[in-house]
Symmetry: C2
Subunit: 329 residues, 2 copies
């Protein structure tokens, strides 16, 4: 009898486990206050005829990208892209050999590059992000993402995304939320992968932008990216862009740094049913541990605000049983 029913039992137990997993939308989240806050919030806004109910069109959730959806160390990935582009474009720019900050980039002297401050970084960004159409830029970013590897993990950058946040995005969408990215990163840079990696379509990506101009060339219209900042989607820029582009106040916002403070304040001051969440980088082993003193992704004022306003703070070390999908490979 045992041998006869054995395969059936295996099949049944597989089915039971699969069902349990389907019921568990956040498998990479440990049970705890953070996960509970998310599940409670979703239940609150989706329960019809309850006081906390929010109609589907108003379920807007906004996510920061760098440090919230994917890693941002040892440098913002878009900056690594810019450095790689300088190297790729160097043969066409012999003058860069003698000109800072390009000279230091080509010499691999990142310390000198960073000493140039914001002006140097802006110069690198403009030299590598402008002078082409958005379609051409999109292809350049995609080609880079297809081959470049993260210096620590030796994985494509699009794999250095947080598995628990992917689950959260999917969970919110399954509950009628429209998920937006609202990031200081370049809007066209993020559009090159946001749909495929996060399931966030181009029209739901909000970011910093450079100016563009319209041109008719050989009878064909084109839009050209110009080396001039149009909008910085950081700090107060985030709620301002949300109001201008979405025109609704989010009921859920997710960030990880002081650059996200105003977006969370804006969400927090809205309707009674709301969720404000900060990802706190506390896992120096599996990822990085940094907050108040970090140059990249500094989390200081926003951490104080989270405590004062009882926002949800996620400890990556304690709340996430898996950070990256490639862990344990």
């Amino acid at each position: 009898m045992k041998r006869t029913y054995g395969p059936l039992c295996v099949l049944l137990s597989i089915l039971v486990v699969r069902e349990a997993r389907a019921d568990e939308p956040l498998p990479s989240w440990n049970d705890g206050a953070a996960k509970q806050a998310i599940v409670d919030f979703v239940k609150l806004v989706t329960t019809p005829d309850s006081p906390g109910f929010v109609p589907e069109p108003e379920r807007i959730a906004t996510f920061d990208n760098d440090g919230t959806l994917w890693a941002e160390q040892p440098l913002y990935f878009q900056l690594i892209f810019a450095l790689d582009r300088v190297k790729a474009l160097a043969p066409k720019h012999p003058e860069w050999k003698e000109k800072e900050p390009f000279k230091s980039v080509l010499a691999g002297d990142m310390k000198a590059v960073l000493e140039g401050g914001e002006r140097a970084l802006m110069e690198l960004l403009m030299a590598t992000h402008a002078g082409m159409t958005p379609e051409e830029f999109n292809k350049i970013v995609k080609d880079w993402l297809a081959t470049a590897k993260h210096p620590r993990f030796d994985k494509p950058f699009t794999q250095c995304v947080y598995q628990p946040m992917l689950e959260l995005l999917a969970y919110l969408r399954a509950n009628g939320f429209k998920t937006y990215i609202v990031s200081g990163g370049g809007v066209e840079f993020m559009r090159a992968f946001a749909d495929k990696v996060y399931g966030v379509p181009p029209e739901q990506v909000i970011g910093s932008s450079i100016k563009t101009k319209w041109e008719i060339r050989d009878g064909k219209p084109l839009i050209l990216r110009l080396p001039e900042i149009e909008f910085i989607d950081d700090k107060t820029g985030k709620p301002i862009a949300i109001e201008r582009i979405i025109g609704r106040r989010p009921i859920a916002s997710f960030g990880n740094s002081d650059g996200d403070l105003e977006m969370l304040q804006w969400t927090s001051a809205g309707a009674a049913s709301r969720l404000c969440l900060l990802v706190h980088h506390t896992d120096g082993k599996r990822e990085w541990a940094y907050d108040r003193d970090s140059k990249i992704g500094r989390l200081d004022k926003a951490l104080d605000a989270a405590k004062a306003s009882a926002w949800t703070v996620v400890s990556m070390k304690d709340d996430w049983n898996r950070i990256f999908a490639f862990e344990g490979e």
Copy 2:
């Protein structure tokens, strides 16, 4: 027997008529080249495994508003709103009695106001559109729309919308399109009615904007509208805003004036499956007849481009059997 089956026959005939109507998504459109072009295009992009098929997420349709979705004569409705606001705010601004262009507005001398040119109009717009939060502005517009009447039709402005275009919006959405408004009108002005009147939610309304600033007042964050132009969503501004905000090229665009030319050119130069359509105001009896020489809604270069590029041109007189829902009341 007749009397017995009579009610059943009536019921059956009602059902048959209802079914016929459900099959006919554009009842206010006369049969003809324009209607055929729309129906053919929708069939082309929605037929799976056909060469013209377009996946649902890429079915982006962009509509101009003034003169395309609602009337724009004798003045843009937003300008009529601004004039009404000057009158409403006048008691708080005694200095306006002696100051142009306000003096002429209060004296009802529109000719003198228009002689002040763009500078005068901009001054009126800034005095009436800035100095409050977007929520407050939204309420002001809604209150105005609830009571103000169109000078010719004596109907609320939100009823001066083109019935055939409402049917077209619904028809496209029923076929998986995402419908956007891309208008020179103010984005927050249009958001006050676009959802209710057109079924276009706030996040799918793109328009001109004024600058805003972030402020914490009494511990509460707010966004304040400033009397300074940020972006004019007209002419080349339209494709530029489409690229920046939507990040996809529309496959269908609808306009009525030279301000829409570049949006239609941008759509026209895209994928093989596309529809570019101009509403031509040819019905002086039911609406207005104007094109090349009109100060408002001038249609000149775009009409030439439509002929050269074989875009669809709708004659309101010949192609629409009903312009406004209130016709024949």
